[in-house]
Symmetry: C2
Subunit: 282 residues, 2 copies
């Protein structure tokens, strides 16, 4: 099952010294579970309906295997078949998340403030949470008509080239920050290197001014400012951001107006006590 190992990126023992050239599969994780969930991961905003064969092609499995996995997921209610017989994610998948969303009551408490911020900059305002090598949106307010993309719960973005990502990184302390950066570097060597300077500058700015700004680093036509909020009791790192389309942005507005205001708002949110803000190194 060499293919499988490479695909899933499982950590395995070094084969170098083994008697036969046979690879040792990692018995401590379940490959079937991985494959099943990888089926769900195949779907995206642009690939909303997928057939068996297409999924098999992407995952490097053969059709019968995928057929069985999909059948299982349909049985569980997380996939459905549309009129054309293709598979689509099913609404029950949302139910899996409800426990997590209801564990973030601060998402509601911040709605008002977020709305005010969105109005203030005539753009939108989002909350993001650190997750592996990405941030994940957990709340978004203000989605004007004609908005270039759909920021919604669950959308992910890069830590190393987005305002929200930088704000999140700025909260990590020495050892923690080191290891996160090492992870990012390992996962996206070239991409990370290309943004390394901007990243460290933004982290510095966050720590000094309480916010940082991104000019189209993530979404080419969006300008955004972000501020760190802190870590929740149960261990999630949270930041807040405001964004608007580039063509509507007045030069310097984010640096001199919106940024400081966002930082103020973040500061007063921190006063609520929901978020623990780390003591930052001088």
């Amino acid at each position: 099952m060499t293919k499988n190992k490479e695909r899933t990126g499982l950590k395995e023992h070094d084969d170098a010294g083994l008697p036969r050239s046979e690879a040792v599969t990692d018995l401590s994780v379940s490959s079937t579970l991985i494959r099943g969930i990888e089926v769900l991961q195949c779907f995206s905003s642009t690939d909303q309906a997928l057939g068996n064969a297409e999924i098999a092609r992407r995952l490097g499995l053969n059709r019968p295997t995928v057929s069985r996995l999909c059948k299982t997921l349909v049985h569980l209610g997380y996939l459905r078949r549309d009129a054309k017989g293709a598979f689509r994610l099913a609404p029950k998948l949302l139910a899996l998340n409800y426990p997590m969303l209801s564990a973030m009551p601060w998402r509601y408490d911040l709605l008002r403030t977020m709305g005010e911020l969105a109005d203030m900059c005539d753009g939108n305002c989002s909350l993001g949470v650190l997750s592996g090598d990405s941030f994940v949106h957990v709340q978004t307010v203000g989605i004007p008509p004609g908005w270039p993309h759909i920021p919604d719960i669950g959308q992910t973005g890069p830590l190393y080239r987005s305002a929200l990502g930088w704000a999140l990184l700025s909260m990590l302390q020495g050892e923690e920050l080191e290891s996160k950066i090492a992870d990012l570097r390992a996962l996206h060597p070239d991409e990370y290197e290309a943004s390394a300077e901007k990243t460290s500058a933004a982290i510095t700015q966050c720590r000094r001014d309480g916010f940082c700004v991104s000019y189209g680093d993530w979404r080419p036509n969006l300008v955004a400012a972000a501020s760190p909020l802190g870590r929740t009791e149960d261990g999630l790192d949270v930041a807040i951001a405001c964004a608007l389309p580039r063509y509507r942005t007045v030069a310097g507005y984010f640096e001199t107006d919106m940024g400081p205001r966002l930082a103020d708002a973040a500061e007063s949110i921190r006063m609520s006590g929901v978020f623990v803000f780390p003591k930052l190194p001088k």
Copy 2:
């Protein structure tokens, strides 16, 4: 693996005539995938952090097995360990849903109308989608402070004893409705029977007046009205509901004021053409 079969409720061939009393396991679904996902399903608003042993107990597996499944889910990023070493759902799980949310652009288009409805009744307004034997909330607007529960994306409720559920059922046609009711009856025999009359009355009301009302049938202290919206192009059945705490409800308000207004709003939403409304039987 007799235990497994019973737990997962897999359909299997009748063993009656088999030579040995050995059960035939169903090769067409993947039991490992089922178990892995069942681990995720263990979490709820009230059980946000679970240990290995607790999960094992609930699923009827032994600890090593659960340890491996959890390790796999952590590897995938869908579980995380908190400060105490317990497992919690990880934010990456939200990312799995993003493709589905972004496939429902009408969730945004309806925000304004929903806000108006919520203001009008001084309560909240939600969109629900049919999913198996339940509805799933896909959007909620208006969460006043002190609200008795947290209606949010992903929350599920019963089809047969809630306004939203009844409104959804009212859209199903003959054969489709029959089979859905049969499913409900099979899954919750007693509970269904207890609400059967209310259910059919509400379906009738929906078809006649365009809305139905529930007085605490789902959440004891909530009164709600709901209207069917129709079926989306990709096959989801959607309904809209407004709810407020019972103690704030004036007698008859939902029947004579809010209900008809909701029905009007639903009617004008349907005009937008996003939802296909079935031709109802006279």
